[in-house]
Subunit: 435 residues, 2 copies
């Protein structure tokens, strides 16, 4: 028997605003950051989790993680690892904490970091990468960890078991295929709004011709004439076979989005991402209807499964973009994939921020092995940011993510390398009582 | 000229879980709490704001307020008071902080506390209660402080000016009427789930016969047979003329809500409050359609104007329940009232938590004077909790809120009385640079 002895949370901030990498119409100067948590047991085992942020307010997330960690300190590890639903309930159904959401924003993401750290520990102890652990669980066992509250009008536990059971027999073949071929990625490297036309074109060349990505993404939405010029140049450079997606990062109102997109349609777009507020289900439904057959994509800032459910019910997008640290960890992300599968929508995860590529690829692989069984119609975003700070950085080969094989969720950082980016002293919690 | 010199944030927690006051199907043991902020100028003027919470996590809100306060320290007060839209933009459109929402949860509420403190200061300097200050502004001036981002498919600034202008000529008469008659309240005092039948009935008697409330509200949703028994007893005690609303505090899924409510309909309910997750626009629309003509009511945990917009567009409720500290202060609450008026939905504000009655009545009064011009079809919730800690506690006479006449927003606390409820040392910020 071992107990949860210590939870340390780091406020890491990388000064990315200095290079305008990551700049878009809504986010002119992000400083890619992480509220990174290390959960230690009395045996000396560790589990790792994090929340990706873009700078200011990372301390608020650190405080939330530290506050919620009090629940777990001193408790028996196996109690949670053997019944992850209990860990979920203690975080998500804490009625006092729930008032601060419910199930959204800082507190929800902080719960996600801690639940992810527990799942990471469970995978490490199982000597399996997270995707493998999850896909090796029996359908009933995996579903028993999931919370269907507020979802049963769209998806029941029985349906979830059926979806997973349906893929079980052929799962090993797909796992083998994944290890052989990896999983498709796409590149956002060329697309930041702060880049000159020359830098954009040069990056499109290297990302597609040298690195082998079959899709790129450009940021739009700040100035229509700029968007038209950049898209025209990009299409010319990329040729007709490379898919080009655009991303407005929520800058438009609904009528404005529809009008603006009409001007960009002729460049044969793969999708239009985040045309407006991620909270506006009905607005996205109106935009999707107006720009059909062009696809709306969104999700990186979708607060919870309850929003995803409604997007699917309303036909408000054709591409669902889950994020690894926006919601409450593996248990919520799996529900999102199950919902998407039931409604026949493809999932192309958001990534790019500190650790997001490393984290999200685990779920994409689970989806291929155990949920949708599809891979070639979907892809995971890739940006070459801060990978060097991870012990097992994402590896891309010919535009495809290589399959992680080491135990855990692949997001352990090399803290010695991060020293200079520690914005404040880490918060160390070893007792439930101290403040 | 004066500057913003100091922002102090208090973590106040009242041990209300000991009495089960405030207990409902979702919140068995709330400790009514406040992240209370005092903003001081170099002249020694103060503005007051707060976020109401129910205990754990109040420290996270305090941290968020303290972090956001850095923006304002050392800045000229008049710069903000003369153009409150600037203060809004610096909080809400801080692109790095926005990542933590966007516009929801802890960070959004923290922005609301600071913006409320600035409006409180503006009202104090104007020597007017907040409702009077807002209603005395010219329609164009008030609308210029509001942010219509993500709303223009439902409400434009021009429509907002028209709504306010339409009421301008008759505003003084309604203000006079308000001062004479006060504003209708309703009582939730009898309804907590933790109370025995005897305690409930005795409180129904005193709240209606002695205190004069014309509507009461009971908590439901934990056990159907209990709900039926309690409602039957309550209806018998109250008689046919007292309105009885019920409140499920989000415990149901959509199909369950519809089935459960069918069993309660016969008790002639005023409304069914929070049948499911506040984030589920489509779920509420389905419930409202199924239980029509019985009204769905919700809003106390509605995260932003973007959700309210969709509820109105989808016909998902008939009663809108704004909250004073859930969103980003007066500027967002005014938008909610304007949207409700345009869509013909009545607003019955949520209150009851520490300071919520004191705070929200200001907006109800603004609505009567300048937006809807209606009062007798709507009412503000009232619970007799923690009023004694406020310098100007809500005053109820014959079931009606008396109109606040003192300068400011009426939420200044008597901190000397709160001493024993200070959960941690206050956070004092006097410089933008310190951590």
């Amino acid at each position: 028997m071992s107990t949860i002895a210590k939870v340390t949370t780091y406020d890491l901030r990388f000064p990315t605003s200095q290079t305008l990498s990551g700049s878009d119409a809504m986010n002119p100067d992000p400083d890619y950051s992480s509220a990174y948590v290390v959960l230690e047991t009395s045996d000396g085992d560790c589990g790792y989790g994090f929340v990706f942020t873009i700078g200011r307010g990372n301390d608020v997330v650190v405080t939330a993680i530290d506050t919620i960690a009090r629940k777990f300190i001193g408790k028996r590890v196996e109690t949670y690892l053997d019944q992850m639903r209990l860990a979920w309930d203690e975080c998500i159904h804490d009625s006092q904490l729930r008032w601060l959401g419910p199930e959204k924003g800082v507190v929800h993401m902080a719960c996600g970091a801690l639940l992810s750290a527990l799942w990471d520990l469970k995978a490490r102890r199982s000597r399996m990468p997270l995707w493998k652990l999850l896909s090796s669980m029996e359908p009933e066992e995996l579903v028993s960890t999931l919370d269907f509250r507020y979802l049963t009008d769209a998806l029941t536990p029985e349906e979830a078991v059926d979806i997973l059971a349906d893929k079980k027999a052929s799962a090993d073949a797909r796992a083998h295929d994944l290890i052989q071929r990896g999983y498709p990625g796409y590149s956002t490297a060329a697309g930041w709004l702060g880049y000159s036309d020359e830098k954009m074109l040069s990056l499109i060349r290297s990302e597609t011709r040298e690195k082998g990505f079959q899709q790129i993404k450009l940021k739009v939405g700040q100035n229509l004439q700029d968007d038209i010029r950049r898209l025209s140049l990009a299409r010319q450079e990329a040729g007709p076979d490379i898919r080009i997606a655009v991303d407005a990062n929520q800058v438009w109102d609904v009528p404005q989005a529809i009008a603006w997109i009409k001007h960009l349609e002729k460049y044969d777009l793969a999708w239009v991402e985040e045309p407006t507020s991620p909270d506006d289900v009905l607005g996205h439904a109106a935009i999707q209807k107006a720009i059909h057959p062009l696809a709306v994509a969104t999700g990186e800032q979708m607060q919870s499964r309850i929003l995803y459910k409604q997007y699917l019910q309303a036909g408000a997008f054709q591409v669902m973009q889950i994020d690894a640290t926006r919601v409450a960890g593996p248990q919520e992300i799996i529900l999102e994939y199950l919902l998407a599968h039931k409604y026949g929508v493809r999932v192309c995860p958001h990534a790019g921020g500190v650790g997001l590529c490393e984290a999200v690829v685990q779920y994409a692989m689970l989806d291929y092995v155990s949920i949708s069984g599809q891979m070639e119609d979907r892809m995971v975003e890739y940006v070459d940011n801060q990978h060097e700070y991870f012990l097992e950085p994402s590896r891309i080969c010919h535009g495809r993510y290589q399959t992680p094989l080491n135990p855990g969720s692949g997001i352990q950082m090399n803290l010695a390398l991060c020293e200079q980016y520690m914005y404040a002293q880490p918060r160390i919690r070893t007792s439930a009582d101290d403040e």
